[in-house]
C-alpha cells in the first residue's frame, strides 16, 4: 500500500505572490520587442502568445494544487476522517472547489480574448486587449486570496502529520490523559514524545516503530480522551477517536492504577465502557500502568498484544470475503488421459550422455586451446575445418574471391553452365548474322580523294586565319584596294593555286604596274602660264601644307621624322593629340576601397 506522504504537496503561494510570479514569468519568458510597423499577424501572434502563456501558467499551477491535495474520497477513511477533524471537510472541499472555478474562469477569459485579438487591427488595440485579459485573470486570482491562504495552512499542517500506515500492524494506545501512554511509547520505540505532568501534553497522534518477531510494528500514541459524548468532543479528542475508529489495530487501553492522572479507577472504567463499541473487532488489552507505584507487571502484556493481533489478522484474512475470490480463481488443471498409452517424459540422448559425462567426469573432446598448446608456435586458427561441405576433402581449399576486378561470389549460380551455354549459342547466332563484322572500307578512291582535299582546305583556312590574326591592325583598316599588290607575291600565290605563271610580262597587271609607276614620280616645278584670276591661281599654286617650305626629299624626310618624334610622347600616354588633357580615373575609389566583405573575393 502506498505510504500516505503528504509532504509532496507543492507550496501554495499567496494570491499576491502568485500573481507576481506569473506576470514576471510572462515578462521574462515571452518575447518583449514589438514595433508598430510589424505585420499585423505578427503583432497579433505576439500578444496572443502572452495571453496564452499567462493562462497556461495559471492553469498549470492551479491544476497542480488541485491534484496534489488529497481528495477526501480517495484516501483511506482514517485519513479522511482525520482531515475532517482537523480541517473541516466542508471548508476544505469548498476551497478546492473555488480554485477549480478560478481555473476554469481564467481559461475562459483567455479563450475569449484570444478570439477577440484575431480582429485586432493595430498594435494599440492588441495591446489593450492583452492588458485587459491579463488584468482579468489576475483579478480572478485576487479573489481567491482566502482559499489560497487556507490551503497553504492545510498543506503545512498536513505535511507534519505523522505517517501512519493504516494497513500495517499497529498498536493503539488510548486512555485518559496523563495515564502514561506517551511514556510507554517512548520506552518501547525510538519516538520522543513530550512527557509532562499536565494533562493534554500530547495534542495529536504520534507514531513510533518497533520490531517484534522480525516484523515492523507501528505504535500510535493518541491524546487522552475524556469522558463525554461524541458531539461535545474537541478536535484533539476527535483525533484519538478517529484513530480508534479506523485503524485496525490492537488496542491497549491504558489505565492508571495509581490514579495519578487525576481520575479514579471507576471513572476510567466508565470511559472504557463508553468507548467499548469502538473496540469491536480489535484485540484489546487493558494495561494497568504506573504499577511501580502499585505493583502489577505489565511488560508481558505487550508481547501478548502483538501475538494476539497477528492471530487476529490472519483469522480475519481467512474469514474475509477477499480470500474466497482468490480461492475461486485458483484451480489446478490436470489433463485427462486420452488413451492407455504410456507417455513417459522424453529426455534427448545428448542430454542423457551429457549427464552421464558430468557424473563420470569423463574427458571432453579436444579443444582448440589444447591444440594451441600442443602446436605452440606452429598453431594457426583454421576455422575452415569446421565447415559443413558436401565433400569433406574440399575443406582446406583456398577459395578465390576476386578476378580482374570482379567478385567471383557475384557469379556463383548453380545453373551457371546452362546459362553460359545459352549465351554462347546466342553469340554464335549473332556472329553468323554478321553483327561483328567490321565495316568494309566502303570508301572508294573518290571519297578518299575528297577527304584529302577537305583536310587540305581546312589546313589552308586555319593558316589564313592565323595570318590575319597576326596582323597588327586593330580598329579601322584600309580597304584591300588601297594596298599595292606585289607582282612577285601575286605570281607565287597563283602558282600555288595551280595556275601557270610563267612568262607573264605582257599580262595586263604587269603593264598596268609599269604605267602607274611613271605617274608616281614627283612633278618638277615648271613655269606655268600666268593665272587668269588671283584667288583661283593662289589655290591652284599653293602647295599642300606638308610640302610647303620644303626644298627636297631629304628635308621632307627630316620634317616627317621630327613630327613623329614629337608625337611619340603623346602616343605612349595614349592621348588623342596635343589637345587631349583628360585625366583618367584609373583607380576609382568606389571599386578599390573598403573591406573584402561577403561575396567573391577572387578579384577587386
Amino acid at each position: 500500500m502506498a505510504l500516505y506522504n503528504f509532504k509532496k504537496i507543492m507550496v501554495v503561494p499567496t494570491a499576491k505572490d502568485f500573481i507576481d510570479l506569473t506576470l514576471s514569468k510572462t515578462q521574462r519568458k515571452t518575447p518583449t520587442v514589438i514595433h508598430k510597423h510589424y505585420q499585423i499577424h505578427r503583432i497579433r501572434h505576439f500578444y496572443m502568445r502572452k495571453v496564452k502563456f499567462t493562462q497556461q501558467n495559471y492553469h498549470d499551477r492551479l491544476t497542480q494544487i488541485l491534484t496534489d491535495f488529497p481528495k477526501l474520497d480517495d484516501i483511506h477513511p482514517f485519513y479522511a476522517d482525520l482531515m475532517n477533524v482537523l480541517y473541516d471537510k466542508d471548508h476544505y472541499k469548498l476551497a478546492l472547489g473555488q480554485i477549480n472555478i478560478a481555473k476554469n474562469l481564467i481559461d475562459n477569459v483567455a479563450k475569449d480574448y484570444v478570439r477577440l485579438m484575431k480582429y485586432g487591427d493595430s498594435l494599440y488595440r492588441c495591446k489593450q486587449l492583452k492588458r485587459a485579459a491579463l488584468g482579468r485573470m489576475c483579478t480572478i486570482l485576487k479573489r481567491q486570496k482566502q482559499s489560497l491562504e487556507y490551503l497553504e495552512q492545510v498543506r503545512q499542517h498536513l505535511s507534519r502529520l505523522p505517517t501512519i500506515d493504516p494497513n500495517t500492524r499497529t498498536l493503539l494506545l488510548c486512555g485518559y490523559p496523563n495515564v502514561g501512554k506517551s511514556s510507554f511509547i517512548n520506552k518501547v520505540t525510538r519516538a520522543d514524545v513530550e512527557v509532562q505532568p499536565y494533562a493534554f501534553t500530547t495534542k495529536s497522534l504520534f507514531v513510533g516503530h518497533m520490531d517484534y518477531k522480525y516484523l515492523r510494528w507501528q505504535v500510535v500514541d493518541t491524546p487522552g480522551i475524556l469522558d463525554h459524548p461524541l458531539e461535545e468532543r474537541n478536535t484533539i479528542e476527535m483525533q484519538a477517536i478517529t484513530a480508534l475508529a479506523h485503524l485496525r489495530a490492537a488496542v491497549l487501553y491504558v489505565m492508571d492504577a495509581s490514579e495519578q492522572c487525576g481520575h479514579t479507577l471507576s471513572q476510567q472504567l466508565e470511559l472504557f465502557n463508553n468507548i467499548r463499541p469502538l473496540f469491536a473487532n480489535k484485540p484489546l488489552i487493558v494495561v494497568a500502568n504506573k504499577c511501580d507505584v502499585k505493583m502489577i507487571n505489565e511488560l508481558s502484556e505487550e508481547n501478548q498484544a502483538c501475538d494476539r493481533l497477528l492471530a487476529h489478522r490472519v483469522d480475519t484474512k481467512m474469514k474475509g470475503k477477499k480470500v474466497h475470490d482468490v480461492l475461486n480463481r485458483l484451480h489446478l488443471a490436470m489433463p485427462t488421459k486420452r488413451d492407455n498409452k504410456e507417455r513417459p517424459p522424453f529426455i534427448p540422448e545428448g542430454a542423457v550422455i551429457h549427464r552421464k559425462a558430468m557424473e563420470i567426469d569423463a574427458p571432453k573432446r579436444k579443444l582448440e586451446r589444447d591444440l594451441e598448446i600442443e602446436l605452440g608456435d606452429d598453431y594457426t586458427l583454421d576455422l575452415q575445418k569446421y565447415w559443413d561441405l558436401m565433400n569433406a576433402e574440399e575443406k582446406s581449399d583456398k577459395i578465390p574471391e576476386i578476378w580482374e576486378g570482379h567478385n567471383i561470389a557475384d557469379y556463383i549460380d548453380p545453373d551457371i553452365m546452362k546459362r553460359l551455354s545459352q549465351l554462347e549459342k546466342e553469340e554464335e547466332l549473332r556472329e553468323k548474322a554478321g553483327e561483328y563484322d567490321s565495316d568494309e572500307e566502303s570508301e572508294d578512291e573518290e571519297m578518299q580523294e575528297i577527304r584529302k582535299l577537305a583536310s587540305q582546305i581546312r589546313e589552308k583556312r586555319k593558316l589564313k586565319i592565323l595570318e590575319s590574326k597576326e596582323k597588327d591592325v586593330h580598329g579601322s583598316r584600309l580597304p584591300r584596294t588601297a594596298k599595292k599588290v606585289d607582282r612577285a607575291t601575286l605570281e607565287k600565290e597563283m602558282e600555288d593555286l595551280g595556275l601557270d605563271m610563267t612568262d607573264k610580262n605582257e599580262s595586263h597587271y604587269a603593264q598596268q604596274a609599269q604605267r602607274s609607276r611613271s605617274l608616281v614620280r614627283k612633278r618638277k616645278r615648271e613655269a606655268s602660264a600666268p593665272p587668269t584670276s588671283r584667288t583661283r591661281s593662289q589655290s591652284a599654286s599653293r602647295p599642300p601644307r606638308d610640302q610647303s617650305g620644303i626644298r627636297d626629299a631629304k628635308m621632307m624626310k627630316k620634317a616627317k621624322t621630327m613630327m613623329k618624334n614629337s608625337q611619340k610622347g603623346m602616343n605612349r600616354q595614349g592621348k588623342k593629340g596635343e589637345s587631349d588633357r583628360h585625366v583618367h580615373d584609373l583607380k576609382p575609389k568606389h571599386l578599390l576601397a573598403g573591406k573584402r566583405k561577403s561575396g567573391s573575393t577572387s578579384r577587386r
Binding site: 565447415w387 559443413d388 561441405l389 558436401m390 565433400n391 574440399e394 581449399d397 577459395i399 578465390p400 574471391e401 576476386i402 578476378w403 580482374e404 576486378g405 570482379h406 567478385n407 567471383i408 561470389a409 557475384d410 557469379y411 556463383i412 549460380d413 548453380p414 551457371i416 553452365m417 546459362r419 553460359l420 545459352q422 549465351l423 554462347e424 546466342e426 553469340e427 553483327e435 561483328y436 565495316d439 571519297m447 575528297i450 577527304r451 582535299l453 577537305a454 587540305q456 582546305i457 581546312r458 589552308k460 583556312r461 589564313k464 597563283m494 593555286l497 595551280g498 595556275l499 601557270d500 605582257e506 595586263h508 603593264q511 604605267r515
Partner: protein, 154 residues
Amino acid sequence: MRIEKCYFCSGPVYPGHGMMFVRNDCKIFRFCKSKCHKNFKKKRNPRKTRWTKAFRKAAGKELTVDNSLEFEQRRNIPVKYNRILWNKTVEAMKKVESIKQKRQARFIMNRLKKGKELEKAEAINEVKKNIHLIKAPHAGKMVQKNLTKCCFTQ
C-alpha cells in the same frame, strides 16, 4: 573481401581505398575517391554528372540491357563451397567477360557510326564550297594567250 562499387561513379572500390558514409537511415554510400565523395557532399546527381557511369547508362551511351550483364549480380543467398562449381564459375566468368566486352564495344561502335556519315557529308560540302582555296578553277587548263588589246591611257 569484396570489390565494392562506388556510389557516385560506379567504379570499383578496392579494399583499403575510398570512403564509406553511413546515413542516419542506415543506407551505406561507398566512394572510390575524394572526387566522388566531394561531389556527393555537394548533392550532385550522378545521373547528371557527365563523367559517371550512371550518366552514361541513363543517357544511352552504353549497353544497359543484355544477357551477358545478368551474370554479375549480387546474390543474397550464399551457395556452399563446391570445388567443381567454383572452377566452372571461374572459367565461365572469363568467357562471359570476353563476350560482354565485345558486345559493349559493338554497341558503342554502332552509336558512333552516324558520326561517320556526318563526317563524310561535311567533307564533301567543304570541298564543294571552298575548293578555291587550294585550286584555282581553271588550273591545269591551257589558256590561250590573248594578244594585248588594251589601249594605253595616260
